[in-house]
Amino acid sequence: MIETAPAPLSGGPVRGRLPGALRLLAPFLIALGAGAVVLWATGRDAFAVYGQLADAALGGGTQIADTLAATTPILFTGIATALAFRAGAFNVGVEGSLYVGAFAAAWTGFSFPHLPGAPLLALAALLAALAGAAWALLPALARAWLDVSEVVTTLMLNYVAILLTSYLVNDHFLARGVANSMSPMIAPQARLPPLLPGSQLSAALLLGLLLLAGYWFLFSRSTLGFELRLVGLAPRLARASGVDLRRSLVIAMLASGLVGGWAGGFQVLGVIHRFVDGFSPGYGFTGIAVAILGRNHPLGILAGALFFGILTSGGGMVQLVSSIPIDLVNVVQGTLMVFAVADLGRLGWLRRWAGRA
């Protein structure tokens, strides 16, 4: 009953293809359209709201810095997800790695206040990476050796991670004088330096871009990356060429979890400076959308992360200014996820229309 093969992102034969640009843009248009329908149905001017949103996200130095700050965790989770996807591992557990990574970084930051900045930061980053990778270990081994689909195990372990960190912070590491859900602040020297004072932007963005460059190098210049891609694209061919499928799968899953751990860890070290119960608005799931929309390509991932960064930071400002709940952003993102994996080329009428236009 339980499926063992990795789930393809878009099943079945490709029956027809839309022109490239439309294929890339259609999910965005549909998703923004869905948001617009909701706005119009409730008596708001959708164009005005989207205009406000873009202005709030990009209309000035501080705004752009805050948008880049909102982009940072999504960039990490996008890279994390794409690392697994490229090797054919369907890791939907980056959210779980993010939580345990965030907790590990926060714990390091408030437990060793006497360490100087550099070693403390390095230790926090190391433990966040280890925690994130550890969270992906069991699903990786289960898929490689027992043929157990990683989809369900990673999905389930997300909730375990959220509940486990909630338990840890509430029952063992509560900040003094706080009723619930917050750990103590990390030591001041454990904070990543801010890039633009007055905004939330920290050096975590630079680390994310560095990581993206590493991701590019891995998959376009290194043997390991080539092998991982081969495993994802054509496992039989990979095996016939002497690639160890199990090893590749485990490496890709662990790397994915590791980067997921950093996603949470650097969010703590750079922005929130403590662990907060349930702090993530679904960064890990947004990473799935980013990896799919960006087709696992480095520039695609960056563009996707920026898109969601703009939505999040602009949406937050619009909520403050014109009392339009930021939840609207979730409608857009959810619709985007649905249509990112839908093969619209199967709609004959759309194909004909696109062919004429």
Binding site: S10, D327, N330, Q333, G334, F339, A340, R346
Partner: protein
């Protein structure tokens, strides 16, 4: 101790009803070959529609029916994207959940002027039914009797699901579709239509599950009221390998965990640790099944086939 146990079990019956309903729908869906990650969204839609229609008509029964219809509608739309546009059901399901959470988070303040909780005037909850003879049985009486009608419906859905899957041509065709779609299609089964119907059915049951939450357990709608129950339902039908009996058992056990974790609030054992159990149980069961399969495969490879 018996009193505490009785109290937990009596609370577990309504607490597990929504998980049971959604899990039975998910099991049927799974047997047809679709892993329904979007149950959470359909429950939330059901909970909302039940409150709106229940208040508008002053009838909890009509509210529940409308919830089932709305769930089926959302389920069908979701299904079409998966079956006709080849969308990955996991990503699409996660997207649907996110869109639903966003939609209600937006609508509650903008349209209804409340931040998170909606309880319109004139809303009547589901009645609590006492079953005459059962009521008098010691210990079991309060456990089995005195619940809302949808809790009883959730129990009846279990044998109904079994009949549907194993004693109707529809069920056999659906399972054939899930087992081998190409073979089923070659045999003349309209596999895509069957899958759509199974997703609509799962949506209807998830909608009812939502109504049980917003009209049965409490009489209001809250944007976070499903609280991951759709995923616990997913855990239940994965644990039960999509078989009705085992799935129902898992859903009921998870319901007991849920009821117990409420009572643990402020106690010595942290509720989070209990709430983890369903998810851990699924991972453990998948590992056990995987290990067993591997052993069987090994044995088959080692022993020569008979007759050779």
């Amino acid at each position: 101790m018996p009193d505490a146990l009785q109290a937990v079990l009596a609370a577990a019956a309504p607490a597990s009803a929504s998980i049971l309903l959604a899990a039975m729908g998910g099991a049927v869906n799974r047997q047809g070959g679709i892993v329904n990650v979007g149950l959470e969204a359909k429950m939330l839609v059901g909970a909302f529609v039940a409150v709106i229609c229940g208040a508008a008509t002053s009838s909890s029964a009509l509210g529940a029916l409308a919830a089932a219809a709305a769930g089926a509608l959302v389920g069908s739309a979701f299904s079409l994207v998966v079956t006709r546009l080849g969308a990955n059901e996991i990503v699409a399901g996660l997207g649907l959940n996110l869109a639903a959470v966003g939609l209600f988070g937006y609508l509650l303040p903008v349209v209804f002027g409340v931040s998170a909780t909606l309880s319109p005037p004139g809303l009547v909850g589901l009645p609590l039914l006492r079953i005459p003879l059962l009521d008098a049985v010691p210990f079991l009486g309060p456990v089995l009797s005195g619940h809302d009608p949808l809790t009883y419906v959730s129990w009846m859905v279990v044998p109904l699901t079994w009949l549907l899957l194993y004693r109707t041509t529809w069920g056999v065709s659906l399972r054939a579709t899930g087992a081998d779609e190409e073979a089923a299609r070659a045999a003349g089964i309209r596999t895509l239509l069957l899958r759509d119907l199974s997703t609509a059915w799962a949506g209807a049951l998830a909608g009812l599950a939502g109504a049980q939450l917003s009209l049965g357990l409490v009489q209001l709608f809250n944007k976070q009221m499903t609280g991951g129950r759709g995923f616990i339902a997913l855990a239940a039908f994965y644990f039960g390998d999509a078989r009705p009996g085992l799935t129902a058992l898992a859903a009921l056990v998870f319901g007991v965990f849920e009821a117990a974790s409420f009572r643990l609030q402020g106690g010595e054992l942290a509720p989070q640790l209990v709430q983890m159990l369903p998810y851990l149980a699924v991972v453990a069961s998948l590992l056990v099944v995987g290990a067993r399969r591997r052993r069987l495969r090994r044995r088959r490879e080692l022993t020569p086939e008979p007759g050779r």
